[in-house]
């Protein structure tokens, strides 16, 4: 058995048939499939460890607490955070961004201030800032993109000014696949003492992330896009910022002492983890990070680059193909339109052929407005995809062409 076949065996869902055809799963940027080690970790937790953490003095509670805090250490080392308490567990990237938009903006945003985002952000890295700006009478500024789907960096430098309080930028674009030069972006912002939040949801599945090397102030990502369970995500924040920020949600766990007169808040990271956390999710995420580390970032990235190159070459020969986004540095995803055929029509037929792609606006309506298109077809890869699957897609697109051409 080849290496890739062995790897695919670890993902039970991949042997499924859809519409009587072997499933070709190319919607990994929406969510990846889960390896057995992740699924089994969830099951093991509920079968042998389940109890509420940080509370009971009993055996199970102690065991679950230890496992949970160990997972925090694993997460910290996965992104090379300086301290485990800089890792806050959330429901996902969206909640991580909302936490910062709410809590950090409460602390720093004043009327007339500006927050800087980019034209390729996912709605979840637009709307929370819009709301924060409305609340604090600040304004949202947008770094433009070019026809290749890359940030126009000189414009970024012009937009950074003494009113800018935060830059919030995606590491990798979910719709275009563009890898942004976040290191350069952060450096420029820091020269003006402006903190930077990075939306890493589409980066962590594909590349190693070192938050200290990046020197980002916040880094957000989701478990389910990197082989982990749904409903768990991470907010990394530099200690100095997290310390200054007021709590986001309140309740149990986030407190030190409560009386009716006054409550003192717990230390980091517990201040931001109100209520019973998603312990199983955290342990599943840890299993997913271990899966990535054991598979190896180099191996993952070599395999996925090969798939991207192979797909770009193959798609070039599809009649009337139009790539939406042709960035120099790309990870994970390719967006395109097959001539004048509507993405919904193409997506429906591909689904009939067992091929799962994403069609529509991918939660980036401003990007589609920029390119004046109603939507795209997006294919996005994970470590278990194969060249043969890309061949199947290209054959599928020929069928689509026959039906709508």
């Amino acid at each position: 058995m080849s290496k890739i076949e062995q790897l695919r065996k670890q993902f039970p869902i991949l042997s499924m048939e859809v519409n009587n055809r072997p499933l070709v799963y190319f919607d990994n940027a929406a969510t990846t499939q889960k390896p057995k080690v992740v699924i089994e970790r969830l099951q093991k937790y509920y079968e042998t460890e389940n109890s509420n953490i940080h509370r009971g003095a009993h055996f199970l509670s102690q065991m679950a607490t230890d496992a949970y805090e160990q997972a925090r250490k694993t997460t910290a080392s996965f992104i090379n955070a300086m301290h485990p308490h800089e890792v806050v567990f959330t429901r996902g990237t969206t909640e991580s961004i909302n936490l910062v938009a709410h809590s950090f903006c409460k602390k720093i945003l004043k009327p007339g201030d500006e927050i800087l985002i980019s034209a390729m952000e996912h709605h979840s890295n637009i709307v929370p800032w819009q709301i924060a700006c409305q609340e604090h009478q600040a304004s949202l500024k947008v770094i433009p993109i070019n026809q290749k789907g890359e940030l126009i960096i000189p414009e970024y430098h012009k937009l950074l000014n003494e009113k800018t309080r935060l830059v919030a930028i995606t590491h990798v674009s979910n719709a275009l696949g563009t890898i942004n030069p976040v290191r350069e972006i952060i450096e420029a912002a820091h020269r003006k003492e402006i903190p930077v939040l990075v939306d890493g949801a589409q980066a962590t599945p594909h590349m190693p992330v070192d938050v200290q090397a990046l020197d980002c102030d916040f880094y957000c990502f989701s478990g389910h896009k990197m082989y982990g369970p749904m409903g768990i995500g991470v907010l990394y924040g530099k200690e100095k910022w997290l310390e200054q920020m007021p709590p986001y949600q309140s309740g149990g766990e986030m407190i030190k002492d409560v009386s009716f007169e006054k409550t003192t808040y717990n230390d980091l990271p517990f201040k931001f983890e109100a209520g019973t956390p998603n312990v199983a999710g955290v342990l599943g995420l840890e299993a997913a990070m271990n899966f990535i580390s054991e598979t190896g970032h180099d191996a993952i990235s070599a395999h996925e680059s090969d798939l991207l190159q192979y797909a770009l070459e193959g798609l070039k020969n599809v009649d009337g193909i139009r790539f939406i986004g042709t960035p120099e540095h790309r990870a994970g995803a390719i967006s395109f339109l097959p001539g004048d055929i509507h993405p919904y029509d193409a997506g429906t037929i591909l689904d009939k052929l067992g091929i799962a792609v994403r069609t529509g606006h991918h939660c980036v309506q401003p990007v589609l407005d920029y390119f004046s298109i109603p939507g795209t077809i997006r294919i996005s890869f994970a470590v278990y995809n194969t060249r043969q699957e890309i061949d199947t897609l290209i054959k599928g697109l020929a069928t689509v062409r026959e039906m709508f051409g």
Binding site: N19, P343, G347, G360, H361
Partner: protein, 139 residues
């Protein structure tokens, strides 16, 4: 007059002859080409039903006690299914349209196109067709 139920039955038996999904979809694409097309002047934001996948434009007129629908869509499959909805509901008295529970989409195996995840505008199209009928029924 042919009732809504009879029209649904006719479509169901038309679709029974397809045992291949591709023939079925080719037929739907063809149906879209013969849709009672909305006038160009109504293809505006006001008459648009927005889905995140595809868009539908719908217009309704009230003539001699009957509702006359016209529509269009930017996606051909959506347009074909819209054509079927018009085939069934257009020309019917408003009260009949308001009271009907459409079942033919399920029966001909196109239920997936009316699910929330598709978000192609068709679910809201049916809702909007009924709302027009409801408004006309009070005239």
């Amino acid at each position: 007059m042919t009732t809504i139920k009879e029209k649904e039955q006719k479509i169901i038996s038309d679709f029974e002859m397809f045992d291949d999904w591709m023939d079925k979809y080719n037929y739907i694409i063809e149906l879209g080409k013969s849709i009672s097309l909305i006038k160009e002047e109504y293809k505006t934001e006001k008459y648009m039903i927005k889905g995140c996948q595809s868009r539908v434009w719908l217009h309704a007129d009230y003539q001699d006690g009957k509702v006359i629908y016209t529509a269009d869509s930017d996606a051909l499959i959506t347009k074909g299914i819209a054509a079927l909805l018009i085939e069934v509901l257009s020309g019917q008295p408003p009260k009949e349209i308001v009271d009907t529970e459409l079942s033919f989409i399920d029966e001909i195996g196109l239920k997936e196109h009316l699910s929330q995840t598709r978000s192609n505008g068709l679910v809201n199209m049916i809702k909007q067709m009924k709302l027009y009928a409801l408004a006309f029924s009070k005239m």
